[in-house]
Amino acid sequence: MRVPLKTMEPIVETKNLRVEFRAQNSGQAKKVAVKDLNLSIRAGEVFGFLGPNGAGKTTTMNVLLGFVNATSGAAFLFGVDVREPIARQRIGYLPELTYYYKFLTAEELLRFYARIFGIRRAEAERRIEQLLKLVELESARQRPIKTYSKGMQQRVGLAQALINNPELLILDEPTSGLDPLGRMKVREIIQRLKNEGKTVFFSSHELGEVETVCDRVAIINQGELKVEGRVADLVEKHQANLEQIFLNIIGYEPQLSV
């Protein structure tokens, strides 16, 4: 059961966001990674952010997370400028690949992040317990992360993204590189979060998955927003499934002769 939207205030908002990177060589022009992007995601939505490799998805996420500064325009989380660290108090972030301290155990990693969020010890222990159960890592909780399989590392990643019980989750290709079982488990967790009314902003190449899970999608190509809307509306408007819409937008023409 979906929790109704509490507010129409955007949780994630970008206004004419533009990101340019300096040229590697003096003769080259600046690379425009994101061109005047306007996005608005409301509470309780699951928003799919799609685009081919190099389209500007990760750069947009990097700006939202404060890793990269926008060249012009602005980005806000919960109405707070993303350059303010406090904007990240209520978010959870899962990177595309697992980037965690491999010498720590899952339990220690979660305790570390809980401490950063200023969660009290007893509450942190309770949440760690719950999250390890949710991601099915109870039996491996005291093993160093370096001994985990890729799927297990991705699930630790999900657990750390949820440690502060975030209102917004930013997931960068959460099922990338996972086997079908791992993918299904991650998808189940996202579905569960959706049912709990969390706002989820995620990028993915798995269009079937996006179609199943997302309320709204945006397709970006070469830094430009090409299409945005409810999945059902887009499918109806274009008389095609999401994959065909996506391929059409990025200008892919199938070559049948091999």
Partner: protein, 259 residues
């Protein structure tokens, strides 16, 4: 503060889960014990040489631990990309710098305690004499000096991308300061202008790490450094640490981090 301490805790955990510290400690212990067990020329004062060697090894090991641990902090975070989930939390880059400094400095302090305990046992068992205050003062001054070293290397770690280049350059600079820093004013006198002014400026600019070396006082039982001087040396180190950390924050705060 909680964030800084949490970050420091991870650095300390990393130190004791890596083998570097154990290797250096075992090496120091083995060399000292072997030297201590041999009696050269039936010299009753041989214990002084053992103490001198043990303290030299402690200084070298502490520098290696401080530089090695600190040099890889920020570059390794960027290389392994652990910086991204970290900065996606409500953590400022200033807190990352402070947390890394606190972690590396505390880790050095813990390593020094282990080294000095060993030194105290070895020297006390040979001399039957326990100048605890002298040991504590030497440990404190060395730890304070390592604070400057850690801050300097941390500044290098936000400038240089690779831990190896940062480690090598930092080691050369610190060794240069330790060995040549005290002579720079004399070198300046022999230079024509404007080189003289440049060398003089350098003499006053560099942190004088050699002031914190009180090994001779322990080896030759020359008593304590005045506590006032000890306090002033601590203040001098605190000033350099603050300046170096501020520099590291200035460089790191606007650095774009791309996934």
């Amino acid at each position: 503060m909680n964030t800084v301490l949490a970050l420091a805790g991870v650095v300390i955990k990393e130190l004791y889960r890596r083998k570097d510290f154990y290797v250096l400690f075992v090496l120091t212990a083995v060399i000292t014990l072997v030297m201590g067990s041999v009696s050269f020329f039936n010299d009753a004062k041989i214990v002084r040489y053992v103490k001198e060697i043990a303290l030299l090894l402690i200084w070298i090991s502490a520098l290696v631990i401080a530089i090695g641990t600190t040099a890889r902090q920020i570059p390794a975070e960027r290389e392994n990309r652990t910086i991204f989930p970290l900065l996606a939390k409500p953590v400022t880059r200033g807190q990352v710098i402070l947390g890394k400094f606190a972690g590396c400095w505390l880790a050095c302090g813990l390593a020094l305690i282990v080294f000095y305990l060993f030194f105290g046992v070895v020297s006390g068992s040979r001399e039957h004499y326990w100048p605890l205050l002298n040991f504590c003062q030497a440990l404190w001054l060395q730890w304070v000096m390592l604070g400057i070293v850690v801050a300097l290397v941390l500044l290098g770690s936000v400038v240089f991308a690779a831990p190896s280049s940062n480690g090598t350059i930092s080691f050369i600079v610190i060794l240069g300061i330790l060995l040549l820093g005290r002579h720079l004013n004399q070198v300046a006198l022999q230079q024509p202008e404007p080189l003289r002014s440049v060398v003089y400026a350098l003499y006053f600019l560099i942190p004088h790490l050699e002031w914190y070396d009180v090994r001779d006082l322990i080896v030759y039982d020359r008593g304590l450094v005045r506590w006032v001087d000890c306090g002033l040396a601590t203040l001098y180190a605190a000033l350099y640490v603050a300046l170096l950390l501020f520099g590291a924050w200035l460089v790191f705060r606007r650095k774009p981090l791309n996934l």
